[in-house]
């Protein structure tokens, strides 16, 4: 596979083909409107003429003599009996016709104007290296205003177009007079090259009359291959169909002209030829019916082939289908490192890596060949020095092939453990959507990945599929290893913090492990440390069990074993109450003594105080422990920390057991009654407001500025009900207690929020559509069994029950209404934000930071003189700063000069 590119394309020029060039390019003049004869052989001078290239394997091209894969095809041509307009240029052509004299074809500018504009034009060209399109528009406007030609004094007639391709001239004598393409062409031919720039044509490359076709190029057959269906029927490509039409009409037109048919018939046929050529170029031209297939499907002609998402540009040139790739469902494997991916054996046997056979790996390669394509660490192909490829599936005696193995051969061996592959989940919204993982070949049929890499891929396991690509060259592998590995992407360029980190149960477990009530016996501590891969290292026991006298270890000290010895940091956890904390109000945070364990402090690699939760251990959190470790100790240290922490927490949570069930949300009768009371109170309050609304009693319900009275009521009611739900939720949560697993999950940030919790335990609350209480359905009521204009909480979608208790049918219905809005919203959002992202990427993709640290676009224009004003790469920063001051101070504080005098 290792070949180097010997040729680079440095420039692509765009221009029109002249009729002469088309003829010169042509390998065959096509006259017959047929494709194949009865025997299935291409008809000479037909559309499938063998000189146009070959599409059948085995047959050689009549022009270049190459076979299917090597012949790129050759153009043919048709001589059109009468010229026709190329639709793409029809509108421009109109402008040209309007800008030139109908007699002398000179531009309708006076000599002085010409000098002036030419100068201006050249100046713009010099400065910006591009055509000044505004100037051309200006010239066009001036020309349109001209009454007579400044050169020959002919009166100017106005030219009209009838979409898409017919031109008319308004003559004072005869009224509207049609101009046929021949007339148009004659005028365009006469334009002198000096005038061409004024109408936006580059005289060095193009002549205006070439937009009117006298010769039509016929694309090679490989552009429009015919497909043989299973039934043996040949099905031709849409382009071929269209070309058949063009040729047929062209022939008829020629015959009629030759036979001296009446003008009318000739013109009709001419128009028909124009129609066919037009639709050949673009079958979606407005004003004419699209050409259709026999089945009624409209034909996919040239423009349609290139245009849009499924067009050539976006789906075949900017993006391509690739070999060496696989796709399957993903599932979790908590025992994998973040750097790894589990690959099913069946896929590993299909995907290959090319390996050069050398003297040194001969034995290994021989074994691979011996194993063949069906035994796992085997090989699928051998490529000999003469570039011949041997497919091991069809080799009878692999032993024999094995003996012929020589250095220089290439073996395409199966994917095996340790190979680097690229792993991707769509939509690929950011660079972390494609990362390199190390292969681990596994049983079963899904890709396995570590739970910690779910956030960057935004993956879950409800049926998600992912793609895998195997790099084939040494350069690609090196690049993947250095730049694309998961560990290199722990820190996100989006916000300068880790995108990877603990999620869900790992966060719950981290909390359980590190909270101050957690003590472990020596056996438990050893199990935890062992699972994290820590050997020969135990923390000091902190206390002894009062009953058994056994040594006890705190969770904090066990967790500390994972931290680098020199790590120092201070931060707060989610448990910190911030400004609501009573100690803060009483004169400052009490730090290490915080009873809520909100103050996290790590000194010299040991966790002194504070509990771990989402803020300190979760993904997408800047200032987490993982962030600090990754930045200060490198990506490898970060990866090791996360992997081993996950292993430890996994064992812990399995040993402890951590579940959530219906029972976890049942509240006792007393609590239920309290909740009921709160809700009833709220309902009463709502009724009071409704009553006031009806009577328009401003003393109870004062109207708020900028709102109608109705809106005032709605806002008030929503406020009341919202408050009631929150209150009920708080009561239920308090009842459940802080050791309830669901409560732990919400408080640590592992999953869910307080709203979810109170909805399950206390009251689901108000259902809304577009931020309003439900008000649709019947006229003035939501459901038929309510009174008209019933504004009460119940009739407008307030769900009083909790999920645990169950919803009444009406409540369920309202809930479904509210729920649907969310689904619709998500669907709309993905498409609009997808388009925004596409546009952003397209606009910014050429922009890079140069070696002088300026930011420039592809044209070399400076966009920023210094990237981000301070040269700091967000991905390597501490939440946008070059360095985290607090971390640096903490680190310095713990620095003991005596310990390391040698450092400098």
């Amino acid at each position: 596979m290792s070949s180097y590119i010997s040729k680079y394309i440095s420039k692509i020029d765009f221009s029109l083909l002249s009729p002469g060039e088309i003829r010169k390019l042509s390998a065959a003049r096509i006259i017959t409107a047929d494709t194949y004869d009865e025997d299935g052989l291409p008809i000479p001078s037909g559309l499938m003429d063998p000189r146009l290239g070959t599409i059948e394997p085995g047959r050689r091209c009549a022009t270049c003599g190459n076979r299917l894969g090597d012949c790129t095809g050759h153009f043919g041509h048709i001589e059109l009996a009468r010229p026709v307009v190329n639709v793409g240029y029809a509108k421009r052509m109109l402008k040209w016709l309007r800008s030139i004299c109908r007699e002398c074809s000179r531009i309708l500018l006076t000599d002085e104007q010409q000098v002036y504009y030419r100068k201006k034009f050249e100046r713009h060209m010099e400065v910006f290296q591009e055509v000044d399109e505004d100037l051309i528009k200006e010239i066009y406007k001036i020309c349109r205003k001209a009454k007579t030609c400044p050169h020959c004094s002919t009166e100017r007639y106005s030219v009209k177009i009838e979409k898409p391709t017919s031109y008319y001239e308004e003559t004072p004598e005869k009224g509207t007079k049609p101009m046929n393409p021949k007339d148009v062409r004659r005028r365009l031919e006469k334009i002198i090259p000096e005038d061409l720039w004024f109408i936006g044509i580059n005289p060095e490359k193009t002549r205006p009359e070439w937009t009117i076709l006298t010769v039509l190029p016929i694309p090679p057959v490989c552009v429009r291959p015919s497909i043989t269906l299973e039934s043996g029927i040949r099905s031709e490509d849409d382009l071929t169909h269209k070309l058949v039409d063009v040729i047929r009409i062209n022939q008829r037109l020629r015959e009629n002209i030759d036979a001296g048919s009446p003008q009318l018939i000739v013109e009709d046929l001419w128009e028909l030829l124009q129609y066919h050529v037009t639709t050949y170029f673009n079958n979606e031209v407005s004003g004419i019916p699209p050409a259709r297939h026999r089945s009624g499907r409209s034909l996919r002609t040239l423009t349609q082939r290139l245009k849009g998402k499924e067009g050539r540009f976006r789906s075949n040139l900017s993006g391509k289908r690739v070999d060496f790739s696989a796709r399957t469902v993903i599932s979790p494997d908590p025992h994998l490192s973040i750097n790894e991916v589990g690959v099913p054996k069946a896929i590993a046997k299909e995907l290959t890596v090319p390996i050069k056979v050398t003297e040194w790996n001969m034995e290994e390669m021989k074994q691979l060949v011996l194993n063949g394509p069906n035994v796992h660490p085997g090989a699928n192909y051998i490529i000999r020095n003469d570039k011949r490829r041997i497919d091991l599936r069809f080799v009878q005696k692999r032993e024999n092939v094995c003996e012929t193995l020589k250095p220089g051969f290439q073996i395409e061996r199966h994917l095996k453990n340790g190979d680097l592959v690229l792993f991707n989940r769509q939509p690929s919204l950011h660079r972390m959507s494609i990362m390199a993982h190390e292969v681990k070949v596994m049983e079963n049929k899904t890709f396995r990945l570590s739970l910690c890499v779910c956030p960057p891929y935004n993956a879950d396991f409800d049926g998600d599929e992912m793609n895998l690509h195997v790099p084939q060259s040494e350069e690609a592998r090196a690049e993947a290893k250095i730049l694309l590995r998961v560990q290199e992407h722990i820190l996100s360029p989006r916000f300068g913090g880790p995108v990877i980190g603990g999620i869900q149960d790992f966060i719950s477990a981290a909390y359980i492990l590190t909270r101050k009530e957690s003590f472990f016996t020596k056996g438990q501590a050893q199990l935890l440390l062992f699972s994290a891969g820590i050997r020969h290292k135990m923390p000091e026991p902190s206390t002894t069990d009062p009953d058994t006298g056994e040594d006890l270890y705190t969770g904090k000290s066990i967790f500390s074993q994972l931290l680098p010895d020199t790590l120092n940091m201070e931060t707060t956890s989610k448990y910190c109450r911030k400004d609501a904390c009573e100690y803060k109000q009483e004169g400052g945070c009490i730090k290490e003594d915080c009873p809520y364990e909100g103050y996290v402090k790590i000194i010299n690699g040991s966790l002194i105080s504070g509990v771990l939760d989402k803020k300190t251990f979760g993904a997408m959190q800047s200032k987490s422990i993982l962030h600090r470790i990754t930045k200060d100790y490198g990506n490898v240290a970060g990866r090791i920390f996360l992997d081993s922490a996950v292993q430890m927490l996994l064992v812990l949570i399995i040993e402890m057991g951590f579940t959530m069930a219906m029972d976890d949300f049942s509240v006792n009768r007393n609590t239920q009654n309290t909740i009921q009371e709160i809700l009833q109170e709220a309902a009463k309050q709502v009724d009071k407001y409704i009553d006031a609304y009806i009577r328009r009693d401003e003393s109870i319900l004062p109207s708020s500025p900028g709102h109608t009275y109705e809106e005032t009521l709605e806002n008030k009611v929503q406020d009341v009900l919202q408050k009631a739900r929150t209150e009920a939720g708080e009561i239920a949560t308090n009842h459940l207690g802080i050791d309830n697993h669901a409560v732990i999950m919400t408080k640590t940030g592992a999953r869910g929020n307080t709203v979810n919790l109170s909805q399950m335990a206390a009251c689901v609350g108000q259902q809304s559509i577009r931020n309003q209480r439900i008000n649709r359905g019947y006229r003035d009521r939501t459901l038929p069994h309510y009174k008209e204009n019933d504004l009460s909480a119940e009739a407008r979608g307030f769900v009083e029950n909790s999920y645990q208790r169950g919803l009444t049918p009406t409540e369920f219905f309202f809930h479904a209404m509210g729920g649907r809005e969310g689904l619709v919203d998500t669907a709309v959002r993905t498409s609009t934000s997808g388009y925004m992202q596409r546009r952003l990427i397209n606009a910014l993709q050429d922009i890079k930071c140069e070696h002088d640290f300026t930011v420039r676009n592809a044209a070399g224009h400076v966009i920023q003189f210094k990237y981000g004003d301070d040269l700091i790469d967000p991905a390597r920063s501490d939440h946008g700063q070059a360095i985290d001051i607090n971390a640096l101070i903490a680190k310095t504080r713990a620095y003991k000069p005596e310990a390391s005098t040698s450092e400098k």
Partner: protein
């Protein structure tokens, strides 16, 4: 040892100023650290250690040449888009207005729309007007657009008398602080009408004569009178005074930055409008760039999405670098690209190719998409670097 003794303030200052001046470490960072170090009472050794670490960190966090910063910025802004809300919320920031937020607003910004859905201004006041609500009200009444219909309880055509009667609403007059004489004067200017005021009836009477004016025209005139602005600035539909700390300021629905800035008592340094194009016209392109960044940050922060400011700065710089606002998309940046292929691969493929053939453009293949299309290495990242290997020298040295 000398090194363990506490570092003097001067020592700290010297070390950190050196970092700033010689090594280019951001000034703010160094100043901050000087303060912190002084509080911590570090020893000289510790200060040395800190300086070393800072320098190492700073060098590490520098951008790598050839990094595709544009793509990173685009992804960093685009990716959170999926997590944003679509709806327009009431009560966001300004309680009484609805403000476009979230994804729609972000799209509005990158599109550089001419007419934002909810144009809004924040008018800050000079100290003498911002201290009390009454003082603020003085400016307020000059800002809010007040039309005749707003202060009138009725505008009637009296057919028998052949006049148009404007019955004033005393409450509104009071509320808006309307000078009635002035109103009369303003109405007089409208088509040179005869206008008089009847204080006893609280009526303004506009005299017409049915002989001169047909009835339909009279009705039209009535509408014209109703819509006549008698006070305030055009396009400012509503203005609300609110209090931030001790300061009173005004926010408005609808914008007219130029006129508002000319008012007495308005703090011209802080007052802004959220309309990009208006800002360009009134304050210039740099102001628009800042507004763009500020608005984008606000959108993202409201949704509690964390995006580095550098990405927004880069996007804003790209949009404003030509001295006018260019939208992100086919009518702006993407349409102005040099490469034909890059434009064709984005949108309106055929037009790009057709136009290119007429002008005789050539594609120099300097950008990313065109190189992807032709199947070559892209000049970005690792593809931007060429390694030349002098094979002959290698052979000779053997």
């Amino acid at each position: 040892m000398m090194a363990t003794e506490p570092a003097t303030e001067q020592y700290i200052k010297q070390a950190l100023t050196y970092l700033h001046e010689r090594e280019g470490v951001p000034k703010e960072l160094c100043m901050n650290l000087i303060d912190r170090c002084n509080k911590e009472k570090f020893s000289k050794d510790q200060v040395d250690y800190l300086v070393l670490n800072l320098l190492k960190s700073y060098e590490y966090s520098k951008i790598v040449p050839s990094e595709a910063v544009g793509v990173i910025a685009a992804q960093s802004i685009g990716e959170p888009g999926t997590q944003m809300t679509l709806r327009t919320f009431h009560y966001a920031g300004v309680r009484e207005f609805s403000v476009t937020q979230g994804l729609p607003r972000l799209i509005e910004l990158v599109d550089a729309r001419r007419n934002p859905k909810t144009p809004i201004m924040h008018v800050y006041l000079e100290p003498e007007y911002s201290d009390t609500e009454d003082n603020a009200r003085q400016v307020h009444k000059k800002i809010e657009e007040t039309r005749v219909e707003k202060i009138a309880s009725e505008v009637d055509i009296d057919l028998s008398e052949e006049v148009i009667v404007i019955r004033l609403d005393p409450e509104m007059i009071e509320d808006k602080g309307i000078d009635i004489d002035e109103t009369v004067e303003k109405l007089k200017k409208l088509k040179k009408l005869k206008v008089r005021y009847e204080p006893s009836e609280m009526e303004i009477i506009v005299e017409t004569s049915l002989d001169e004016i047909p009835i339909q025209k009279l009705q039209k005139l009535r509408e014209k009178i109703k819509k006549k602005i008698i006070q305030g600035i055009k396009d400012i539909n509503r203005a609300i005074i609110h209090k931030d700390g001790d300061e009173f300021s005004i926010s408005t629905e609808g914008t007219n930055l130029e006129k508002v800035m000319l008012l007495k008592g308005v703090d011209k340094n802080r007052t802004y409008s959220n309309d990009l194009h208006e800002t360009v016209e009134v304050l210039g392109i740099e102001a628009a760039r800042n507004l763009l960044i500020r608005e984008a940050i606000k959108v993202l922060e409201d949704q509690s999405l964390d995006v580095d400011i550098r990405h927004l700065m880069l996007t804003a710089d790209v949009m404003t670098r030509m001295g006018e606002i260019n939208q992100i998309g086919r009518h702006g940046i993407s349409g102005a690209k040099e490469s034909v292929l890059a434009r064709a691969a984005f949108e309106v493929t055929m037009r790009q190719l057709i136009d290119a053939s007429i002008i005789g453009e050539s594609d120099e293949l300097k950008g990313i998409p065109e190189n992807v299309i032709v199947g070559q290495l892209c000049p970005v990242g690792t593809g931007d670097i060429n390694l030349y290997y002098d094979w002959m020298r290698h052979v000779e040295s053997r």
